[in-house]
Chain length 222, copies 2
C-alpha cells in the first residue's frame, strides 16, 4: 500500500473477513469521528503467556494513534522492531430489541486498528504526544495546567500506531427480524437509546478557595 | 489452584504485575458487579497474523463468562484445545482533572480475565447460554420474544471462559497531585462525572398497532 493516506482504508485480508460485511465501511472520516469521540481504547497484544487486552487513553493525530502505553508497559516485549497490536475503540449507541433472541443486537460504532506500535523515544515528540492525549480527553486543558516536567515525560510510555489498516463498523437503526416474526402478536420490538452524559464538575477537596471550574470542565461534552 | 471458587482470585504472575497495584483488588464480588453491569466486552486473541480485539456481548453465569463468539469466529483457530483469550470489561465513571497533565486520570472499573475459551457444543447448553446473554443485556426479555429455533442455535457460536484468573482494578475519587502543585494559584482540579443513560424506547417502524413497550424496555436501567 502507498504511504500516502487516502480517503479510505485499503482492503486487507484481516479487514475484509467477518460476519457482517454490510456494516463495514472503509471511510477514514467515519473512523476518525469514532476515534475522536472515544475516551479509551482497548489495546491487544500477545505477551509471553498469550493475549492481553488493556484499556488505556489515546489521541488521534492525523493518520496515527498516540497511545498512553504505560498500562501496557509490563506486557511489551522490547524486540526493537515494534510490537504487533490491535487497538479497538467502541461506542454503544443503543440496544436493539428484536422479536427473536437471534436478531437482538446493539447499535454501535467501532474501529479496529491493526499494526505495529512503536515507542515514541524523542523527548520533544513525546511531550507533544502527551499533550495531545490530554487535549484529546479534555480539549483546552493543557494551557490551564502546570506544564509537564522532563522527568514526567521520561517516565511515561507513549506508543505510536499508524492508522493504515483498520476495520470500521457502524450499526444503526431498528431491528431486522425474520419476515414471519413481524406478524407476531404482542411482541414489542424497537431500540433503547443509550447516551453518555457528563455531570457538573466536582471540585477537588483540596482546591484553593476562589478557583472556579474552567469552561473546559463546565461545558464538557463530546 | 483449586477448582473450588473462593471469594478472591488467586495471585498469578499475569495478575500481579502492573503499574498501579493500589488500584487492584482480588475480590470476586467486585469483579462480578463490574461484569454484570457491562454491556460489551473486548475479546482479545492471537490470530495467525497477530493480536485481534473484538467487541462482543456476553453474560456472567456464576463462575464463568458466556461470550457471543460469532464476531470472533473468523479469528478462532480450531485447535480442539480451546483458544487462549483475554476478555476485558471496562466502565469509565469520570474524568480526573489534576493540576498537571501527568496526574490526569480517569475513574474507572475494569476486569481483565485470562484463560482458555472453549466453544459450547451441547445444543441445550448453547440454548441456555444464548438466553443468558439476552437476559444479561435486557433482563426479563426472553419470555417476551419468540423462542430460538434449533437452526438459530446451531448457527451461533458461544464461547465459555472460566472466571478463574482475573485482574480487577477500580479507581475512584479526586486527583492525586504532587504536593507542591496544590499551592498553584488559578489551577482548577476535580472530577467530571460520567454516566450512561438510557432513553425512551423507540418503537420499531414495523411494530403492529396496539403493542406497548414492555417494562423490560420502559424501565431499563443498569
Amino acid at each position: 500500500m502507498s504511504d500516502e493516506p487516502t480517503d479510505t482504508f485499503p482492503a486487507t485480508e484481516r479487514t475484509t473477513i467477518g460476519r457482517s460485511p454490510l456494516r463495514g465501511t472503509r471511510q477514514r472520516a467515519t473512523a476518525n469521528a469514532i476515534l475522536d469521540e472515544g475516551l479509551i481504547c482497548h489495546v491487544g497484544l500477545t505477551a509471553d503467556h498469550g493475549p492481553v487486552v488493556i484499556p488505556t487513553t489515546y489521541a488521534r493525530r492525523g493518520d496515527e494513534l498516540l497511545i498512553h502505553g504505560s498500562p501496557a508497559a509490563t506486557w511489551l516485549r522490547s524486540t526493537g522492531k515494534g510490537t504487533p497490536v490491535c487497538v479497538t475503540v467502541t461506542h454503544v449507541d443503543g440496544l436493539v430489541l428484536a422479536r427473536s433472541g437471534f436478531h437482538h443486537s446493539m447499535n454501535y460504532r467501532s474501529v479496529v486498528v491493526f499494526g505495529t506500535a512503536e515507542t515514541v523515544t524523542d523527548h520533544g515528540d513525546k511531550a507533544a504526544a502527551l499533550d495531545a492525549i490530554v487535549e484529546h480527553i479534555v480539549p483546552g486543558r493543557t494551557p490551564e495546567i502546570r506544564p509537564m516536567t522532563d522527568d514526567e515525560i521520561t517516565k511515561t510510555l507513549v506508543l505510536r500506531l499508524p492508522l493504515a489498516e483498520a476495520s470500521v463498523k457502524v450499526r444503526d437503526g431498528g431491528p431486522i427480524d425474520d419476515d414471519a416474526d413481524y406478524e407476531l402478536p404482542d411482541v414489542w420490538a424497537g431500540v433503547i437509546p443509550m447516551t453518555t452524559t457528563f455531570g457538573t464538575p466536582i471540585d477537588d477537596e483540596r482546591l484553593l478557595p476562589g478557583i472556579d471550574a474552567p469552561p473546559s470542565a463546565v461545558a464538557y461534552t463530546r
